[in-house]
């Protein structure tokens, strides 16, 4: 994400059209770090809590006006940085603005007021959120299997058992693959995406057939019944096998039948071996 941050060195955010020469006093954050910090909030309540904490205030004593202004400054900064702004932030901004406007306008008659004081609602929500935020931190501090605790599982020297061994769910297997690929960031590799499973499977199948006799006529590797696609899959598989030094394509003389054989490291073939490796 860093590369998207385009801060021409001392370019400060603009808030409500005015260039911010100075970031808000409570905001001791270098501008280029702002984006990272803003993205770290878990939502508008989290951001509000952060603003309150920065001033060392009890939630119960929030000065709504001040907090509203700071919140709006953050929202503006987020928009300036083109951080995708979730609707929740805007909703909270609207709520704060409403609270502020109600405070500025004298209430004509308290009896008429039917809704709750919106500040009470805000305070409740903040308090409630804070409890669970704290609870989630407590939870994270508990010793956890996989991070702090390693259950012991000692392999038995021998097991007397005549029932089938564990059978993983296919989904488990797929999730495992997904995770390892995500970790290896291989999903971005075009090479893998160009190789559909059918080619990889065909590669195994061809290698397997070759294991019996060591070599097969090229033409025997194609089954016309498979149609055009089948022929293409076989052909790509053969090329890939050869490229990966698993097989060799051999023709003893011009126009002689082409043979596919298991690659062998033979001295008299050293030359072609090198060519394959260079690929």
């Amino acid at each position: 994400m860093e590369e998207n941050v385009q801060f021409d060195a001392p370019e400060y955010p603009r808030v409500r059209g005015e260039r911010l020469e100075k970031l808000p006093d409570d905001l001791y954050i270098p501008p280029d770090a702002l984006r990272v910090i803003l993205e770290a909030f878990e939502g508008p309540l989290d951001l509000l809590l952060y603003l309150i904490r920065r001033q060392n205030l009890d939630i119960l004593d929030i000065p709504v006006q001040l907090i509203t202004e700071q919140y709006m400054a953050y929202i503006d900064a987020m928009q300036l940085l083109e951080i995708e702004l979730a609707g929740e932030y805007l909703l909270m901004a609207a709520m704060l603005a409403e609270i502020k406007s109600r405070m500025l306008l004298p209430r004509p008659d308290p009896e008429e007021e039917e809704g709750a004081d919106p500040r009470a609602e805000l305070v409740r929500r903040l308090q409630e959120y804070e409890r669970f935020k704290q609870a989630s931190e407590n939870l994270d501090e508990l010793p956890r299997v996989g991070r702090d605790i390693t259950p012991v599982q000692i392999k038995p020297e021998r097991v007397d058992i005549d029932v089938p061994l564990p059978q993983p769910e296919l989904k488990e297997l797929l999730i495992a693959f997904r995770d390892v690929m995500l970790r290896a960031e291989l999903f971005t590799s075009h090479q893998i995406q160009r190789e559909p499973l059918s080619v990889r499977a065909r590669m195994s199948a061809i290698l397997d057939r070759l294991q019996d006799g060591g070599s097969l006529p090229f033409s025997a590797l194609f089954d016309p019944k498979e149609g055009r696609l089948g022929v293409v899959v076989s052909f790509i598989a053969i090329l890939e096998l050869t490229r990966e030094a698993m097989t060799e394509i051999v023709q003893s003389e011009p126009f002689a039948p082409i043979q596919l054989m298991v690659a062998r490291a033979r001295d008299d073939r050293q030359g072609s071996q090198d060519v394959i490796l260079d690929d």
Binding site: G43, A120, E121, E130, P151, K155
Partner: protein
């Protein structure tokens, strides 16, 4: 080791089972497995477990009891060292996931909508899926309102993975500042802004938060765990 009733053979059988098992074993399960090996009863197994616990003191692996039963585990003192065995660091849990989990833990059974109300943001499907896949939470029922939202609760696997015997062992949910204090604060706020209305904090109960709030103020242990979660 000191009790004279310890049967060394039973002791070693229990140890072998616990060492080979890939998860915690309950006393009942151990009794069942040993049915043909001298058929010890629950009490004998209990005695063996106590002896093994004593024996494990000072060693790298401790015998501990969690919700699912007993297991040997390498003491957390060695977590850093053991981390070096694996190239990959265990993934950190994101704050979003932890907050969602905390809400399910302390407010179960809870719907996704209720989680969203408290957190103030949408709960992503991936978080719910991750929690379900890790088997830390499960759907314990549905709320009979339009849409029939699923209700989530924690599992025994959650307790096992967090090294707990029961939900009661969790740190208590941080207190909500009491309502009197809130009233006071609101009165102060009003005075500050020149308003002279009586505090009416309870009026908030009518909004959607009231829903999520009500059960939460009750002590955690009041939450009846899902049927197979405990013991």
């Amino acid at each position: 080791m000191t009790e004279q009733t310890i049967n060394e053979s039973v002791l070693r059988c229990v140890e072998a089972l616990l060492m080979a098992a890939d998860g915690p074993l309950s006393i009942d399960r151990i009794v069942g497995l040993l049915a043909e090996s001298g058929a010890p009863d629950r009490k004998a197994v209990r005695v063996a477990l106590d002896a093994l616990t004593a024996e494990s003191e000072g060693r790298a692996a401790a015998l501990v009891e969690v919700a699912g039963g007993w297991r040997y585990q390498v003491r957390s003192d060695y977590a850093g060292l053991i981390g070096k065995l694996w190239e990959e660091k265990p993934p950190r849990l994101t704050r979003a996931l932890l907050e969602t989990l905390a809400l399910i833990v302390y407010r179960q059974p809870i719907s996704r909508g209720e989680i969203e109300q408290v957190r103030g943001v949408a709960v992503s499907s991936n978080i719910v899926k991750t929690l379900l896949e890790r088997e830390w939470v499960r759907i314990v029922g549905y709320r009979e309102v339009p849409g029939r939202p699923a209700l989530f609760g924690t599992t025994r696997q959650f307790l096992d993975d967090f090294n707990l015997k029961s939900l009661e062992q969790l740190p208590t949910l941080p207190e909500l500042k009491d309502l009197d204090q809130l009233d006071e604060a609101m009165a102060r706020l009003r005075a500050d802004s020149g308003e002279g209305a009586e505090p009416r904090p309870e009026a908030t109960a009518e909004d959607d938060l009231g829903n999520a709030d009500a059960p939460g103020d009750a002590p955690v242990e009041a939450d009846e765990p899902p049927s197979d979660s405990l013991h």
